[in-house]
Symmetry: C2
DNA sequence: TATTGATTGAGAAACTTTCGCATTACGGAT
DNA sequence: ATCCGTAATGCGAAAGTTTCTCAATCAATA
């Protein structure tokens, strides 16, 4: 879990016979410049890039979000219903987990290095190469506990 | 995170003005009888029930998987690509986390009560009512580290 | 600078999940 | 035990997200 520069990403792509492209660099830069704690969906990223005058096709965005997640550059989050969201995968001081209300989707980010370490240790013990480690807590927030109706 | 009986589920539904149905009981029983560590998708559950001669429509299955997850009876997992999977939500001695290879989807289940406790503590501290707590580790398994090609 | 093959873009297609609505049936009240 | 109001079901259609196809483009090496 390292913070990637475009050239580091390029080097790692070349190791496998793949290529760096302007689109990949744009996506990497966008995630590194976006506000901390902001998670983008594929669709949102596509819109954002369009607004910024550097549009990338949705197909390419999907392809690269998956690629960069599998390289460990991005982390793939399944927070709200129905769509995956992505954020830059940052090392320990910035690494965080998510506490989500299943009713209103209100999300709290929190840090816990001992949980991160436990995950890293487990991956290592099994011979797996760690990419991402996230504690996902599903719960009901105080406001939704008070409201009676929806599920 | 309690192991539910049909009557306990019924009582909790009634608290909110909802009803117990044969379909809901069938789904609950199915998840309690399925082999430990088996995660079913909506489609798979539908097929399984069809084979067992107690078919339930896919719509109803989707509705109840969501309902039961939000009640804390089931846990919703996003392990492999593209489909959600569900398993019964069991308390501490049986509670487990998942380590997944992002390339071949090979999954290892493991227990770690201190991680579970850290999650429960975090939810409590924020006034959230805990439903499920899962450490999700994305990694590359030993076999896929050796194979060069796919992502 | 030429070549090879990975990558992109656009639209079609595949899949998962949700919705709408008529029908059924749970469970509290009579 | 029966009736009633309404939650829940089943079916098919619809909505969304993600993947696929393929011709055109372009990165990287010689």
């Amino acid at each position: 879990m390292v913070a990637y520069t475009p050239s580091a990403m390029k080097a790692e792509l070349h190791e496998r016979g793949w290529r760096m492209t302007p689109q990949r660099e744009t996506i990497l830069n966008t995630f590194q410049n976006v506000a901390k704690g902001e998670h983008l969906s594929a669709e949102e990223l596509c819109e954002l890039l369009k607004e910024e005058g550097a549009p990338i096709s949705l197909s390419t965005i999907y392809r690269n979000l998956k690629l960069m997640s599998r390289m460990g550059i991005l982390r793939e989050l399944e927070l709200a219903e129905g769509q995956k969201r992505y954020e830059i995968n940052q090392p320990s001081p910035h690494h965080h987990h998510h506490l989500i209300c299943v009713r209103c989707n209100k999300t709290i980010e929190f840090k816990n290095d001992s949980v991160l370490k436990a995950g890293a240790k487990m991956a290592d013990k099994s011979g797996y190469h760690l990419l991402d480690c996230q504690l996902l807590i599903h719960a009901v927030c105080p406001a939704c506990q008070r409201s009676i109706m929806p599920v």
